[in-house]
Amino acid sequence: MLIGILALVFALARLIPGDPCRAALGERATDEICEAYNERYGLNEPIYVQFGIYLNDIAHGDLGESFRFGVPVTELLVERLPTTIELSITALLIAVVVGVPLGIISGYRHNSKTDVATMIGANIGVAMPVFWLGLMLQYVFAVLLRDTPLALPPSGKLDAGLIPTPFYEVWGWPMNGFTEFLAKFTVMNALVTFQWEILSSAMLHLILPAVALATIPMAIIARMTRSSLLDVLGLDYVRTARAKGLAERTVVVRHALRNAMLPVVTVVGLSFGALLGGAILTETIFNLAGVGKTLFDAITSRDYTVVQGFTLVVAVGFVVVNLVVDMLYTYLDPRVRVS
């Protein structure tokens, strides 16, 4: 499956009109210079040869070198992936922590005012474009509320002038690609090394983009939870649970919810894909140097290797998350357990 993704992205990247040489060196690059450029990056080979070389490199853990920045793609990933992971996880947490309870309340009290209000909100949430919401959030929290305690930073990862100390320096660990990667998780890094000022700044910077990114999955999760709970509450075993004399709370939480969460878990896994797509817009609007923004820039500058490498990582991430979801499923639902 991953090879399929690779082939697809490889082909699509090359189908975009425009060539990397002129995108990187400017419109006035001469043919000779471009010839040399293509020669250097192997772009004058036939496509299938290029693909073969690329596959071979990947098999050896080499994602190639960025045409634009002249650094290995892996290095870019180490630097930018953590920002996106942090953003996505925060967004997913917000979506689940807010979406599931909202869904439960509206499912349990269905047709009540709360239910109607939640569902109207959820439908608006689903329909709202991320980029518009992002801009509105910025406008409200960074412009209208600028000098109030509610003001939130509209862009970047940290306040200007703050430079986090990586945990490996604090702990005296060796610096290598992996520790560097871990240290780029700004919130985690600040937390484990007790850099409170950085921690609070990093978290404040995360709020707006995470909320913008969380809205759509939150709305989807709330709607799914609601309809799934409604279905389950009408089932025979919920009646049995009530007839047994269990408290309503136990009936809902223990007997209905666990079954109702099964489809929701699937949706959460799938939302993760939407989240990564949304990250491209969110990171661009909030000026976060993450995977999404890098990918966006790479596409506009025909930086093929970066497009391919980052897409591959995103695809792997998606597959891994859904694998985790499947594993969670076997824990939640005995019917899918292999005996």
Partner: protein
């Protein structure tokens, strides 16, 4: 199970119960003035076609009727306590402890994500405040009592690993776990194979013999009623139309509807061109006919040329010793 026999009075006394469903199309009078008495250790059959209000009656006893349904009138006394006057917490303490229920679809009545043992043990945890471990030991004990083969293994089985008959035994074990005075069995055998049906019927009979549990058996299967019930109440369109002990009802049915029901049972070995069927359909419970609810389908009405049937509703009349029927045929001043 001891209290039932101790104080002598009836276990359950339903008077004038009305449970209506307030739907968009109108008020569905699913149960409309039902009286029913169950003595200690007695098995009462509640019989009728689908949609006649049998299940709603039983759900009303435990106050399990869900929106848009509501009990609008009547009283349900369980050993002297009016169940309709209890708080939510008080009725919960009775559910599953002193009155319990089993249902038609045993497999879907069990929660698919918990083991049989867990679901039985829950009864002890909620009503006896037991911890998980001891509750499980008790669950194993009750599984043995209902004659489940290999209970040590079944206790950890999930519902999808059980057959229908096995699942119904689990349900019965769960229902009996706390030693209730009354068991309401709502079509307990309908979804099962005939041989398994017989086993479940035997099990219920044993329950009554050994534990003295009174049983309300709701079914549309007169064969089962004949086999196990002491007394039978026949329901039609939200009302009880005839009530008698089982022998009388089968040998001397009075109400034309009961006669029709008994007449429509195919007799094994007898070859007949036509089964006797009751013409027409159960009336719409929103728009009930004036007068007797069975009148539009009633042959006896035509044969006797009764006009009152379509004008006034008959009351339950004594038609013999401990035998009542709701029919103008047996009324003195009927014309």
């Amino acid at each position: 199970m001891t209290q039932a026999t101790a104080n002598g009075g009836p276990v359950l006394e339903i008077r004038g119960l009305k449970t209506h469903f307030f739907t968009r199309d109108g008020v569905v009078k699913a149960v409309d003035g039902v009286d029913l008495t169950v003595e200690a250790g007695e098995i009462v059959g509640l019989v009728g076609e689908s949609g006649c209000g049998k299940s709603v009656t039983s759900m009303s006893v435990l106050r399990l009727v869900q929106d848009p349904g509501r009990i609008v009138d009547g009283s349900i006394r369980f050993q002297g306590t009016d169940l309709l006057g209890l708080s939510d917490k008080e009725i919960r303490n009775i559910r599953g402890d002193r009155i319990s229920m089993i249902f038609q679809q045993p497999i879907s009545s069990l929660n698919p994500v918990y083991t049989a043992g867990f679901q039985i043990a829950e009864v002890y945890r909620v009503h006896r405040n037991m911890k998980k471990g001891p509750a499980r030991d008790k669950a194993l004990e009750v599984l043995r009592e209902v004659g489940i083969p290999d209970p040590e293994r079944r206790i950890d089985a999930y519902p999808h690993e059980l057959s229908g008959g096995m699942a119904q035994r689990i349900m019965i074990a769960m229902a009996l776990a706390a030693g209730p005075e009354l068991l309401i069995a709502d079509e307990p055998t309908t979804a099962l194979d005939v041989t398994i049906q017989a086993q479940i019927i035997d099990l219920m009979r044993d329950v009554r013999e050994d534990l003295g549990t009174a049983i309300i058996l709701i079914t549309h299967d007169l064969g089962i009623v004949a086999e196990i019930a002491d007394r039978v109440a026949v329901m039609y369109a939200g009302e009880i139309v005839e009530e008698a002990d089982v022998e009388t009802l089968f040998t001397d049915p009075k109400h034309p509807y009961t006669r029709g029901l008994i007449g429509s049972i195919p007799v094994a070995g007898a070859r007949r061109e036509w089964l006797d069927v009751i013409p027409g359909r159960v009336p719409n419970l929103i728009d009930l006919p004036p007068g007797c609810r069975f009148a539009p389908r009633c042959r006896a009405r035509l044969e006797n040329d009764l006009t009152i049937c379509t004008e006034r509703e008959p009351a339950l009349l004594d038609v013999g010793e401990n035998h009542t029927a709701r029919c103008w045929l047996y009324s003195e001043g009927r014309r």
